[in-house]
Subunit: 443 residues, 2 copies
């Protein structure tokens, strides 16, 4: 497709260019533009219709957006910038050098520039940072007819016109009217008569994950963002929150895998930055795991006397770690999506420990069989099998209780990763193993 676009651009023929771009979605065109060489990228935006240009450039990386705008005629840059949705303008301005941002901002009309500056002050990952000011506002007293006229005037720039937000003279949100309701009513009806006053909204500083949860819960397509004194600063649209939902799940998965989450997409991270995200937990876990050395040295005599006990160390610890990882990933995810809370403490513990007991018994049986196959004698086999039972139950217990407690302590439960549980179970599992061995084998 990119090749075709190149040829079309080389032809310098407006008509065939327009025919070409009409065949594709803005997202697909953006992908093609990314693969063009620099001159063609400029030519593309010089030729493309204005509002489509803005839609397409929104899908590009901020660095590329800037490079293109920097080389377009001022007129084109002004149109592009003003047609882009305000949250994307903010993302662009925050990503480039402050000096470059200052130059770009000169292209914005003053009142819009002030709004953008305010949006730029909100911390990353908060509702404020995701808000766009391109919504349609209205007054209570407006009639349907007048509102429709207003929408016709400003609707071109709005990101989403499914909802009209009714604002009072202090800029406070008083309610919402859906476009559907507007169409269903008589032209003389006022918005006051059909307004829905109880609007789900979020505060500027709310974390994006919480905003996404609210959107998910109430099945919304946009949420208004308010300051503490209830003034409306913008809306967050569902597409931005879908990105948040993906991001947050990715972060949870990386944490559960025992590393610090990568902020950027996979290939955007340098080897050095990936190294730093991983080495921290690796070292912490190493220190925690290191005491297995002390445990084993402590039981050196037992080990020398019955060397066969060593054969089962990886198997027993592995099985314990696996069980713990199963429990912890299921539970941490259930807590992340709100299915499990601290108040469910006893229900969770009962469920996990009961499951753990059954899993333990099952694993005990196969361990006994395995020991016989390896031919280590029935007494050692029994020790190993009983250890398997205990370790599996113990791993289930630890993997269930730790995330619950962390959640209560307001620490992200995803800190208890699979590797964390595995490490914890390794050390404690060895103690269980050798204690049982000493007692049962009279060592």
């Amino acid at each position: 497709m990119t090749e075709e676009l190149k040829n079309v651009l080389a032809e310098f023929d407006q008509l065939s260019f327009h025919e070409f771009i009409e065949k594709y979605q803005p997202y697909d065109l953006a992908e093609m533009v990314t693969n063009l060489n620099y001159e063609d990228q400029i030519a593309f935006f010089e030729t493309a219709p204005q509002d489509l240009g803005a839609e397409i450039i929104e899908f590009l990386e901020p660095e590329l957006q800037y490079r293109i705008m920097d080389h377009l005629a001022d007129d084109s840059t002004i149109t592009l910038l003003n047609d882009m949705s305000s949250d994307k303008v903010v993302d662009l301005l925050l990503a480039i050098h402050p000096h470059q941002a200052k130059i770009l901002m000169e292209f914005l009309p003053e009142d819009y520039r002030e709004k953008i500056k305010t949006l730029m002050t909100y911390e990353a990952n908060t509702a404020g940072s995701l808000a766009t000011v391109d919504y349609i506002g209205a007054r209570k007293s407006w009639t349907i007819d007048f509102t429709l006229q207003h929408i016709r005037k400003v609707g071109h720039d709005a990101e989403l016109v499914s909802y009209i937000y009714v604002i009072d003279t202090h800029g406070k949100l008083v309610g919402v009217v859906s476009l559907k309701d507007i169409i269903l009513q008589k032209p003389t009806t006022t918005l006051e008569e059909i307004i829905k006053e109880d609007v789900i909204s979020v505060s500027v500083e709310m974390h994006q994950e919480e905003v996404a949860d609210i959107l998910t819960k109430y099945d919304l397509v946009a949420i208004p963002v308010l300051t503490k004194d209830h003034r409306m600063i913008g809306i967050i649209t569902v597409d931005d929150l879908i990105d948040v939902i993906h991001e947050e799940a990715t972060e949870d998965i990386q944490k559960l895998g025992g590393s610090q989450p990568l902020v950027e997409p996979y290939f955007k991270n340098s080897v050095w930055s990936v190294f730093r995200k991983r080495i921290g937990w690796l070292l912490i876990l190493f220190v925690a795991e290191a005491y297995t050395g002390n445990v084993l040295r402590h039981y050196e005599d037992t080990l020398e006397e019955v060397i066969a006990l060593a054969f089962f160390v990886p198997l027993l610890l592995g099985t314990g770690g696996n069980t713990g990882t199963q429990t912890v990933t299921t539970l941490v995810r259930a807590m992340a999506v709100g299915e499990v809370q601290f108040k469910d403490f006893f229900r969770v513990m009962r469920k996990e420990i009961t499951t753990g007991v059954f899993l333990g018994l099952a694993m005990g049986i196969v361990t006994l069989i395995r020991a016989q196959i390896l031919g280590v004698g029935f007494d050692i086999g029994t020790v190993v099998a009983i250890t398997a039972i205990f370790i599996v139950i113990w791993a289930s217990f630890v993997a269930a209780i730790l995330p619950l407690i962390l959640h209560k302590l307001k620490v992200d439960p995803a800190v208890v990763s699979g590797p964390f549980i595995t490490t914890f179970v390794d050390g404690t599992g060895l103690i269980i193993y050798f204690t049982l061995a000493r007692v049962m084998l009279n060592l």
Copy 2:
């Protein structure tokens, strides 16, 4: 809140009941209704305004939906069923006993019943199973004015009126017009003049995860669902796909944690069903891990001669497992969200192996220090440290290559869970350890 609702219901006062329900969102009212006793639930739906009732009942579990409908007057059930969106009706009918479903279906007008029956035939987790027929269709030749009249007539039942779908006489989708465009145009314009013909759509049998990916990519709020011959059967709205995104992330997390994904929310699964989801992988991993016993028995003499080697077994295997888990979770997620594909094979391998080398060197150094602290002598310490370097690099390599290969083989890469990598590294890591020990210590 539930208590308050109980009191309001006990008063039998329409006015205060309506005042109460106006204060809350349908989702919140649904939560309260769930906590009411049975008589109050019936009373609630007998009293609530019709369209609100349908909105609320959609948030309840199918079993409860059926129980309520079963005890309402037929008139109320008919209204509720017809006001619910068709995808929710399908969910309800598929969840209850076929005999009960048949009775409920009698309440639907015949043509709608036929549509519902068709929707019920689509396999779970496909686009067809998520589709709702409550969209607004129109003809190319319609004027804006006529279209608006049509929307006023049928818009009440539609799930989403942001888009009007233009259908030809064969039921085929020819294009889409946004409500925004309709409002912005003159009343005499025909839809043909403003139609957008290149519509992103999905086929009935597409997997829901793929549908969600498309929605995410193109920032849509709804996607039309078409049969193979391009006939439109309905739309999927963004709220249903957000649920899909959450579900799919949960499944991936559970798989990465080494268990079969639970289909139901956490507490809905019995101990027995959780047990079955976990025991399968535990047994497979047990068998895979079991050969560590053979490896250790094979090196029994080496172990007896230098028992201190045993002290580091859990530490070395643990560190390898942790590194592997970090890599595999990051990579599998990156593949799930489309950041990494098989064509990136060499880029991924280079990145992960380079990172692995640096991590390995770092872990080698701390292992050497740890060995000195435990006082096992410099020769053994060196063996252990070099093993650490090799195991970390090996784990990175295996954890990077396996998901890529599985992806190529069209197997879900999430099969390579943390526990899987840990298990794999345990056995192979032991071989690395003892081979190095024998060579370096001349055993």
